[in-house]
Symmetry: C2
Subunit: 277 residues, 2 copies
């Protein structure tokens, strides 16, 4: 693996852009190859078998580009299939769940931690498992928020009804006396201002995105894989299995700069992948 | 290496207790073997050769206990000799500088980062090197605070003159318009309230201790070395080459529980170590 190779980031859609943004902010020398599976988004209510198959197809796709490390930026995919991908992939792989859990433990002073995520992430108890393994005596409560991903993917997160949806969904958490709330889905940072208004400013919100970028940095240090300084600005590449216009619009708003987006039909993804999966 | 083995933590004195405290808070299942070289503290104004020799002796000492990972909790020692210890030690080794640098990058929104540390840490530019390697366009400014370690080691950090000393020392940083200040010495978190009063509440203070415990957690995950849950509470062991009474007093105040401290004379440390160094 070469230091100048890219970081692969895969997600069910645009949510992983919050991770990409943090990688670009914290590690501006690194180049990104991003794949968003918008055509099959959301993953959160899909079966474990489907999530496994789709994730493996994405892994196969981004590995066609020379990458030195892989981030599974989708909490649902990481919850289901991280260990499996790790075993089958030559480059170091990180998910978003352990970094988020660690940050929550570090931030929490009272040990009362909430987790919001997709149905699958919450149902398989991905965060709770890591949290309690590291620190058994925590109080944790998980809540599935199935309406949040469609809200972000459709670009409707600025609309007035977004506030109402967020309020209705997380209302039961308000009386849990949490001190920390994990945004257990990479789409949710785009809703963070609304979530903060509802849950209250004294609750620390943990964005898996920010923490994952930090842990990626630690991983690159450990493997001596940080990109060397060059005069060239890194050229990021974004691929989507969905509509490239919507992806570009959300991507540019979120990243703050113009991006090239290439649409890849599922037929282009799956044949490359299907030989091995 | 067994999962139930201890975490070795070495420091020039009591400063590394801030790291121990965070390890205990974030990873309460883990057992600690701590060595503080109070007899030869502070390291910050010593020669590189002395720092290398003393650190290697501590490494040798804590390795007599079965440890599964080693934390060089002294910024000065980590700045000088981390890579060397890493190459010569069978267990994973982390220092405090990279975790602190990463946390500062993550926290900083304006990219204006100050570092306070011992003379050696600042002179060798340990933090700046890591910061600029990860993110070249940061503005960084380092300041040596040689009076801070004696203030903490003597237990005088509550005395009224402590505030005056802190004020006079870091006054030049107040007009640097920093958004983030790295406490680049594990002793400094004990002075954090005073530092915050002087530098202003809008500057984010980064404690290497908190960040190092988090990165230790990531390292243990990566190597699958987290301790398994048992009914027994972990029994930590503390050793000092200095006065065990002073060590116990500061240790218990800082950790918040009673600790066993065993004094080890330099003669007991050095012969064990000198055969190899």
């Amino acid at each position: 693996m070469g230091k100048q190779q890219a970081i692969g980031i895969i997600d069910s859609g645009v949510g992983g852009l919050t991770v990409a943004r943090e990688v670009i902010r914290q590690l501006p020398r690194e180049q990104i190859v991003y794949f968003g599976d918008n055509a099959r988004c959301p993953y959160g209510s899909r079966s474990v078998e489907e999530i496994r198959m789709f994730t493996n197809q994405m892994v196969q796709f981004v590995q066609c580009y020379p990458i030195k490390a892989l981030v599974i930026a989708c909490n649902t995919a990481a919850a289901v299939v991280l260990e499996e991908v790790r075993e089958q992939t030559a480059v170091p792989v990180i998910g978003v769940i352990e970094p988020g859990a660690r940050a929550a433990i570090s931030a929490s002073r009272m040990g009362r931690i909430g987790i919001i995520g997709t149905e699958t992430t919450i149902r398989v108890g991905a965060y709770q498992r890591v949290l309690h393994r590291l620190k058994p005596d925590l109080y944790t409560v998980g809540m599935a928020c199935p309406s949040f991903v469609p809200l972000v993917e459709s670009g409707m997160y600025h609309a007035p009804e977004a506030r109402r949806i967020v309020e209705e969904t997380i209302a039961p958490l308000v009386h849990e006396e949490l001190d920390t709330l994990i945004l257990g889905c990479t789409h949710y940072p785009l809703l963070a201002p609304l979530i903060e208004q509802v849950i209250g400013g004294e609750v620390t919100l943990i964005s898996s995105a920010e923490e994952t970028a930090r842990e990626l940095s630690a991983l690159l240090s450990l493997h001596d894989l940080h990109a060397e300084d060059t005069t060239e600005k890194p050229k990021h590449r974004f691929f989507t299995s969905g509509d490239e216009q919507i992806f570009r619009q959300i991507g540019e708003e979120w990243l703050g700069f113009a991006i090239d987006v290439e649409a890849k039909s599922l037929e282009e993804i799956v044949p490359a992948a299907s030989s091995n999966w």
